[in-house]
């Protein structure tokens, strides 16, 4: 009964697919990016230069890429999952040798026109690879201890490399994103409990491997007053900015904490603080609502996807996206240590924006090809 419909849809033309794209999601993403443009305009003291203009260009590029990814067949992504993962891994290793370090963390490879951050590519690649892996095995296999080995290696390799950069924030994002896919795939719950317990037990050991600035960030997070003029300054000033914004905010371009530079890194990591200072609780909740709708869409659409690969990928990417938003906002509110995670689509910066938009491209692709049946082997038939 459903067979003809599938074969019909499988033969859809590019133009038809373009029309069937979920334009509401595209609109939503554009709206969130516009919030970013507005805030970047304010960061520059009411000027489109130097941040807002460049961010707009990046967004335009990202939009084209996202739609291109969305229109690409899901089957292609299944077969490309492992090669992409291996490529990203190779880049992560390469960056150890030829990469450039900026601000003490996050290495990149300078391509001239673009600074490629392999750790960003890996965020997507890891989800793809894990979804591909679980797509290829049965539920029973997925629940077995034996098949735990490959996903753990898939996660541990890039996480270890990123950690050595050293970029604790991204490493945690990779581990959590990977774990979420494993969780969705049906890995037994007690394993997660065991994992959490052993992670907690490893904290004292891990502490020894942390760099001084990382230790200081964590200690400062636990007690911001420890060093109010040094490492604790950022958190204190961010909380002051948020709190002083109140319910309605101080008004566009009128945030004293941001405009007078008391707020650090306001065009990147602390842009949410600036929004909440100038537009208050209402502005902050407004942006969170936009994110919520976007993530909610991803969750709902994943439930309609027929292929296991598509479901796991959509949900995994949506969770990674959620982690971005959560870690960034919790960080600027003083709920988490400052780990250097940008606010997706809003913070100034090309790599993170492209990652997120390609990620949504994949989610849209899964949605567009929700009825595609993909064999376990993943081969294109």
């Amino acid at each position: 009964m459903t067979e003809p419909a599938i074969s019909l849809k499988g033969k859809r033309g590019l133009f038809t697919k373009f029309g069937e794209l979920n334009w509401f999601v595209v609109l939503l993403i554009t709206a969130i990016a516009c919030v970013g443009f507005v805030m970047l305009y304010s960061v520059a003291g009411g000027s489109i230069e130097p941040w807002a203009s460049r961010q707009m260009i990046r967004f335009a590029v990202g939009l084209v890429l996202m739609i291109a990814v969305a229109l690409t067949s899901l089957r292609f992504w299944v077969s490309a999952a492992y090669p992409i993962y291996l490529g990203a891994l190779a880049l992560l290793i390469a960056v150890e040798f030829i990469g450039t370090t900026g601000m003490g963390a996050q290495r990149w490879i300078d391509l001239g026109f673009f600074r490629l951050q392999p750790s960003e590519v890996m965020k997507i690649a890891l989800v793809l690879a894990l979804a591909r892996y679980y797509h290829g095995i049965t539920m029973r296999e997925a629940m077995s201890l034996r098949s735990l080995l490959i996903p753990v290696i898939l996660i541990a390799l890039p996480a270890g490399l990123v950690l050595s950069q050293p970029d604790l924030g991204t490493a945690l994002l990779l581990i959590l994103g990977g774990a979420a896919v494993m969780f969705l795939a049906g890995v037994r719950l007690w394993l997660f409990v065991a994992g959490i317990i052993s992670a907690l037990a490893a904290i004292p050991v891990a502490w020894g491997f942390l760099k001084d600035y990382q230790k200081s960030r964590i200690l400062t997070f636990l007690n911001p007053e420890r060093d109010p003029l040094g490492a604790g300054y950022h958190i204190m000033q961010s909380k002051i900015a948020l709190g002083s914004g109140g319910v309605y905010g101080k008004g566009f371009l009128l945030g004293t904490q941001s405009q007078l530079n008391f707020l650090p890194e306001k065009q990147t990591d602390f842009i949410f603080t600036m929004l909440a200072e100038e537009f208050g609780l209402l502005g902050g909740l407004g942006l969170l609502t936009l994110y919520g709708i976007l993530i909610g869409y991803a969750i709902l659409v994943s439930l309609t996807i027929r292929s296991h690969f598509g479901r796991l990928m959509a949900m995994g990417l949506a969770f990674t996206f959620f982690l971005y938003v959560f870690i960034n906002t919790a960080m600027v509110m003083g709920l988490l240590p400052v780990v250097g995670v940008p606010l997706p689509l809003v913070s100034y910066g090309g790599s993170a924006m492209l990652t997120v938009m390609i990620g949504f491209g994949l989610i849209l692709s899964a949605a567009l090809h929700r009825d595609a049946i993909i064999p376990r082997s993943g081969a294109i038939t």
Binding site: T138, M139, R140, A180, F183, L184, A185, G186, Q237, K239, I240, A241, L242, G243, S244, G245, G246, V247, T256, Q257, L260, N261, F262, A276, G280, L281, G284, L285, L288, G292, I295, I299, S302, L303, H308, R311, L312, M315, F319, F322, F326, T329, A330, M333, G334, L335
Partner: protein, 629 residues
Amino acid sequence: MPIKDRRIDRFKVYSRRAAILAGFKGLLVSGLVARMYYLQVIESDRYQMLAEENRISVRLLAPLRGLIVDRFGRVLAANRADYRAYLIPEQTRSVDDTLDALSRIIPLSRDDHQRIRRAVQRQRAFLPVTVAANLSWTDFARINLASPDLPGVQPDVGSTRYYPHGPLVAHLIGYVGAPGEDEVGRDPLLQLPGFKVGRNGIERTFDSQLRGQAGNMKVEVNAVGRVIRELERKNAVQGSTVQLTIDFELQRYAADRLAGESGSVVVVDVKTGEILALVSVPAFDPNDFNLGISRTKWQSLLADKRKPLINKAVAGQYPPGSTFKMAVALAALEAGVIKPDHKVACWGKKELGNHTFHCWKREGHGVLDLVNAIQHSCDIYFYDIADRVGIDRIAEMARRLGLGSAPDLPIPAVASGLVPSPGWKLATQGVRWQRGETWVAGIGQGYITATPLQLAVMTARIANGAHAISPVLTVTPRSGEAIDKAPAPLNISRAALDVVREGMARVTTHPRGTAYAARITDDGYAMAGKTGTAQVRRITKAEREAGVRKNEEKPWEERDHALFVGYGPIEDPRYAVAVVVEHGGSGSRTAAPIARDVLLKAMRANSAAAPVDKLPEQPTLTPERGVDV
């Protein structure tokens, strides 16, 4: 069956776990929302306050110090722009390195280094320490240029006290200095770097009036403390001007006239008691005290035997010598023990028991009445009448004329002099008063002492018809001081005063008066007066027999003090003058000519003319930038 199960299972597990994950996300998000509510609603007020504290910096604006002017509005103490540099210790990593860097630009002495380091240790690290003041424009510009290499060093333009006529008014005006540690705690104004308070003289007495009121400005600053804009400003109010009764031109003239001597000149308006000149030489330069005087300068001031730090006009206590004879004469006349025509024969000496009392004129004056006795300053005559009237009534008259108690003046160290009495002697020395001591008191020697100011007041009270004028130094009332008390009459009979004044007139107008050489011949400006020579050492019998040495033959410290008191014009007295030249020799030769010149100058210039009402104002020096406190 197993295949179907498997397929259903996979989707079921997925959707259940997706729901759990979504619930987990929802939990985290509600945590975020709760946190935002806490920060932006519950704690919002507190954070708004903190944001304001971040943003707004209140800076104190130092008021300009009030001017000090003379009776005609001539400026005696002003303010001028001062280029200086502070160091804010907390803004530099190493105070020593910064000072080293600074000393490559401007000279910093070892003393400076020590002073700065001491201040850095003593006060809180965010308070500025003055590292250099009074900089030349070139040095100031070089510091500004080098400021990137001088962390914590802040160039600033402020104002500093300036005394255009330094030493001429030093003893009156005093000086300013940095407030003491104990004072600083109370008043934020005093914490301003370079802020000075009155340390001596008028500067000190009138400090609260001169200080003015601090203003403040609220500025918006950015994270590195740079001022973005001014939000609010309350300008500082300059301290009020204090006007002295001094006629500065007269003061300057008198000081010039005394130059090279050690002594004082006081000129008083006999009608009002206003002090028109109060000179003590040598003096010091109060400008030296602004920044803290150097050790060597201070030591040399202390070591100078002419005592430049002491205001001799009010603090110098001298035996009045013959200038006291008017008081003795008035006491005798008022007591009725003599009549003006009372005659005494002077043969150069007079015996009392086995003591011999000498007249200054060894061969004697012959027979004299009271007027002659004053004119010639005959000692024998005054031994006689002092003996008749007695020490108690002499002392009482001396006090009525203003001796023996300190006048109330807004300057420090105003001395009271001493008017002795038998009771005083018994109490302080345990010895009874001797009759011979009354004789000695009759010629203003012995225990009795008076300050130049007191002598001028005494002369003024005789000249004005016995009205109890009190000396006044400022036209501006002291805070809380009542003004315009009409001087009370002293109840000395006109007849007695006329006799004494006739004697004083003869001193300078009669060819055989003791100060005839210093007479004023200009019409309407004639001066009356009385010479005095105060012995610094008692002349021993042996010396007298060997022949009294002339003053010029003695070492400076042993020479007599030369005194003169006088008033003018004789017909309608307006000015009283007292001159004391320490170790100046004779009153007629040294003191009288100075008194004459000063008095003539005062009369010609009409020094006692009403003080001007409209006082000059200090022009604003520089826009004040304010200092964080």
